[in-house]
């Protein structure tokens, strides 16, 4: 089922959490709402779920073309997984998962054995068989997360909304769980939206990434697209490392010796889009001195100081290539930029 949010504005007193945001989530996709804290992503998710309401008269939410703005949370058929799981701490894992079925009016409620069967199959799905009788306090963070997911899935939701699903977990569990979520999504094909502030997480598992900043949507696209073609300086800096280099520079866009004349504008260059060469008189490129070398890892990082204004520029290159160059700290080198981007209205220093 697709989700459509149109012209959503949400203010808390003087603070604007969402400023005329529109977004459409295609059916069956795994979509990440990515942004720094305070960008409005969680508020947007909660408005989709019916846990918050947009400012009166400011727009609507529809599921598969049907306007659900006035439908209350319990009737929207959304599965919502809370950042801190919000498991009912006085109930066992089984009772937590069965809750959504137990509270249905009598005529809609499945019988006991059907509920038990559903709980068992969900526990199998989230790989927690045998933990039915545990209480939430007896589970690890990753297990709680999966119980919360099973509980949300128990009511057969049409969309799944996850608020910072990996935020409260340690790094290792986080990585495992996000791969697992991606596999799960491939299995059940439920339209899923998750909120995250971790760009690596969003780029790794989402079909589509929605980048938010200061109550607005900055860019929407596939991970590849938003990484390669950031629509704004914000997106450039938020997704991955980037060098902000003040123009002019020699060796721009691999174009040899041509210096751009537009003084003062900023070029955004990914570290892996910088070529490094040994210095030869007459060779094209920007002259720089190596400040430090970091060779622990598969790619080597080289920090250089540009000659004319002592600006630091970071380059990433294969280790073998760096070794074959045979350069070391304090050596003078030439930099060439394979690809860069400038933004017309960006005067930031």
């Amino acid at each position: 089922m697709s989700i459509e949010a149109k012209n959503i504005t949400k203010t808390f007193g003087a603070y604007t959490a969402l400023n005329d945001v529109s977004l459409s989530v295609p059916s069956g996709k795994l979509v990440a709402l990515l942004g720094p804290s305070g960008s409005g992503k969680t508020t947007l998710l909660r408005i989709m779920a019916g846990l918050e309401f947009a400012d009166t008269g400011s727009g609507n939410i529809s599921f598969h073309g049907e306007d659900v703005t006035a439908v209350r949370a319990g009737k929207r058929r959304v599965g919502f997984v809370f950042q801190h799981y919000a498991l009912f701490r006085h109930m066992t894992v089984r009772d937590n998962i069965a809750f959504g079925l137990d509270v249905r009016p009598k005529r809609e409620r499945p019988d006991r054995s059907a509920i038990n069967a559903r709980v068992a199959s969900l526990l199998k799905l989230v790989q927690l068989e045998g933990l039915e009788e545990r209480f939430p306090s007896q589970l690890s963070g990753g297990q709680r997360q999966r119980v919360a997911l099973a509980r949300a899935l128990a009511v057969e939701p049409k969309v799944l909304l996850l608020d910072e699903p990996f935020g409260a977990l340690d790094a290792k569990v986080r990585k495992e769980l996000r791969k697992w979520i991606r596999r799960l999504h491939d299995e059940i094909h439920l339209t899923t939206v998750f909120v995250t502030h971790d760009q690596e997480e969003a780029l790794e598992i989402a079909d589509e990434v929605v980048i938010m900043n200061q109550a607005r949507v900055e860019q929407v696209g596939t991970p590849q697209h938003v990484y390669d073609h950031p629509a704004s300086p914000f997106v450039y800096q938020f997704l991955g490392n980037v060098n902000r280099i003040r123009l002019p520079i020699r060796g721009l866009d691999g174009a040899g010796d041509i210096a751009r004349s537009d003084d003062g504008t900023i070029a955004y260059v990914r570290p892996h889009d910088i070529e490094l060469h040994r210095f030869h008189v007459g060779m094209p490129g920007e002259v720089a001195v190596i400040r430090s070398l970091h060779t622990a890892g598969s790619v080597a990082r080289v920090v250089c100081v540009r000659g004319i204004d002592e600006e630091l520029i970071e380059a990433e290159l294969p280790r073998q290539y760096l070794e074959s160059l045979g350069v070391s700290v304090q050596d003078t080198v030439l930099l060439r930029l394979r690809r860069s981007r400038t933004f017309a209205d960006d005067y930031a220093i």
């Binding site: 808390f12 019916g50 949370a73």
Partner: protein
């Protein structure tokens, strides 16, 4: 007040707030306003006569003086008790800890007759000081004893959580910077304990001002000497002097509300202070 500033998905707001306000209005607000309205009907001179006659002034002096002293004593010993209960371990610590709440749980009349029995001249304690001409029960000292009993838990219970949350790292940091134990206590620990100590003092003082049950049995209730203000209100009521009783009550209410406001501000301040 019933205006909803923010829509919420959780139901029951109108029902719960409506019930709360109605109940609050009927039980608390309307009766309280009765006292003020009754007094508003008095002329100024009648009011002054009622609340500032020599006998009433004497009762203020006793009530405020004894409450102040009792709260002060509770600050000193309450600090020691709270410190001992949090920082040290000794057999029976948990029982002692639970017992601190006794003045909350023990009906005041029971406390009153028990204290009177102990401190009267034949009592367990009274008999030892009686030969020296010291009268504990049926004197102003008796009032002070009862009010100390009643205020005891306030200081201890406000201090305890704060002492529990004192970070040992702060003390350790102080030692590594070369401070002595005494310097650490004076300059690192006590400043943190000051706001809750003051709060506890104000609470114990406020409670003592209004206390009646435990005091009347031990004070002897002699006009001008050992008569506390709440007792005077009852005396006036028994003489069918409703206006006089209400006038004194209004004075006490105003003092209580000022104290409540003060405690409120103190707690807000100390929370902010504590959070850093």
């Amino acid at each position: 007040m019933s205006a909803r500033s923010e829509r919420s998905v959780i139901p029951g707001f109108n029902l719960s707030l409506g019930f709360t306000l109605t109940y609050l209005g009927l039980i608390v607000v309307i009766p309280l306003s009765a006292a003020f309205l009754k007094t508003a009907g008095m002329s100024w001179s009648a009011f002054v006569d009622a609340v500032a006659s020599p006998r009433v002034l004497a009762s203020y002096r006793l009530s405020f003086g004894a409450s102040f002293l009792a709260a002060l004593v509770n600050c000193v010993f309450g600090l020691v008790v709270a410190w001992v209960l949090v920082r040290y371990s000794f057999p029976g610590r948990k029982i002692v800890d639970a017992l601190v709440d006794l003045p909350f749980a023990l009906p005041t009349a029971v406390a009153g007759i028990a204290l009177a029995a102990i401190y009267s001249k034949n009592g367990w304690v009274g008999q030892w000081v009686e030969p020296y001409g010291i009268k504990l029960a049926f004197s102003q000292i008796g009032v002070f004893i009862a009010l100390t009993f009643i205020g005891l838990p306030f200081v201890v219970r406000t201090l305890q959580p704060v002492i529990e949350e004192l970070e040992p790292e702060l003390e350790e940091a102080s030692y590594t910077l070369g401070a002595s134990r005494w310097q650490t206590i004076r300059r690192v620990i006590l400043p943190d304990l000051f706001p809750p100590l003051l709060t506890g003092f104000a609470m114990a003082f406020a409670r003592a001002l209004g206390e009646y049950g435990s005091v009347v049995f031990i004070s002897g209730n002699m006009p001008m000497r050992t008569e506390i203000t709440p007792l005077l209100i009852i005396t006036k009521l028994e003489q069918y002097d409703y206006r006089g009783a209400t006038a004194i009550a209004v004075v006490m209410l105003v003092v209580s509300f000022i104290l409540l406001l003060f405690i409120n501000l103190l707690q807000r301040w100390s929370r902010r202070h504590h959070r850093i």
